[in-house]
Assembly symmetry: C2
Homo-oligomer: 205 residues x 2
């Protein structure tokens, strides 16, 4: 006999348990919670997921998730279209938007180059990034990828591709790396601290 | 403008974030994970939840979740039908089954008496428990409810109801409480430790 008193319950727990970071016990707790909700709420819950999957679109300019052909950021007249910030995914756009420090537009790669995972330059939106920069009068590309080996590899690859365009006056920058604001030096990892000394910047008193 | 680049995304995140213990960031991560899965998988995921809600049944004897009119435990010829273990919910049945130490049947209350939450004796399956014991030749009722004030209240209420039946020879027991196996005394809470001294049992060397 299976651990579960019902195949329906077992199926639902298996599905919820397949989500990343959700164990079997948590899955059971979540499913039994849903089961206690009114039928209409469970239908709404399930529908929100299928509807998202079936109807979601991606901005044809920046590839961010969008309900329209062009996302609100690319469509906005208040955004600086000459500055493109290159990010790995949708969450990164939301994180940068939440800082309130950026008024340019984005380019969502949908991943980063990772030979270990079999992800090459053709699997992510690099060609479309290059195509965006070629004809337009883009002034700056900001590389805001993870500060990992894969992020560095992707940064370098994009840098080479953009250099090959021979566009004088195109600034290519990357987000600052160093000791996080509010952190004690003694608790900062050695690689970050070492690099933040090597890459020190002038003090503007 | 909303935090989310898409209303569909926002709706899905709100739904997943309404689950207990799932925050907004986790919900976004889970939803974007689902969005990366094939359409068929997302449909299967959503369907497993609506199907469970729409088609689930409860055993008419013990009120455990079941696919049939009578659950596999109540239907089994290998279980001792004269011993009924009273538990709060479905998870408790699964936990006790996993111990492999119990061969009787269950009675799932579907909650415990909790005046703070407005749950009284009529809101849970107590009448059906009493009805089960009245005509049958049940030998023992094991109270396996949480060792909380609400659990104690429910234990006492059930005890009184069963006593009122005037059934001589009906044994009413409760699960043993004390220091958990493998625990150091110094890390055991004082109430548990104090009671485990008061309720000491004879040492069988």
């Amino acid at each position: 006999m299976s651990d579960y008193p019902s195949i329906l319950l077992e199926n639902a727990v298996r599905q919820v348990g397949s989500l990343p970071g959700v164990g079997k016990k948590t899955a059971l707790r979540l499913v039994l919670h849903l089961l206690r909700q009114p039928k209409h709420d469970v239908d709404t819950f399930a529908e929100s997921l299928t509807k998202l999957k079936n109807e979601v679109r991606y901005c044809r300019i920046c590839h961010n998730i969008s309900d329209q052909d062009v996302c609100p950021i690319c469509a906005s007249h208040h955004r600086d279209k000459q500055t493109i910030c290159v990010v790995e995914n949708v969450q990164d756009v939301m994180s940068i938007e939440n800082t309130g420090q950026y008024s340019g537009v984005y380019h969502v790669l949908g991943g980063i180059i990772s030979p270990m995972d079999g992800i090459g330059p053709k699997d992510i939106e690099i060609d479309s990034l290059v195509a965006r920069i070629e004809p337009e009068d883009i002034q700056e590309v900001i590389l805001a990828l993870p500060t990992t080996m894969e992020g560095d590899t992707t940064n370098f690859y994009i840098y080479r591709r953009l250099q090959a365009l021979g566009r004088d006056g195109l600034r290519i920058s990357q987000i600052a790396r160093g000791v996080a604001v509010g952190n004690e030096l003694e608790y900062t990892d050695e690689i970050t601290l070492g690099r933040s000394i090597l890459n020190r910047v002038e003090f503007k008193g």
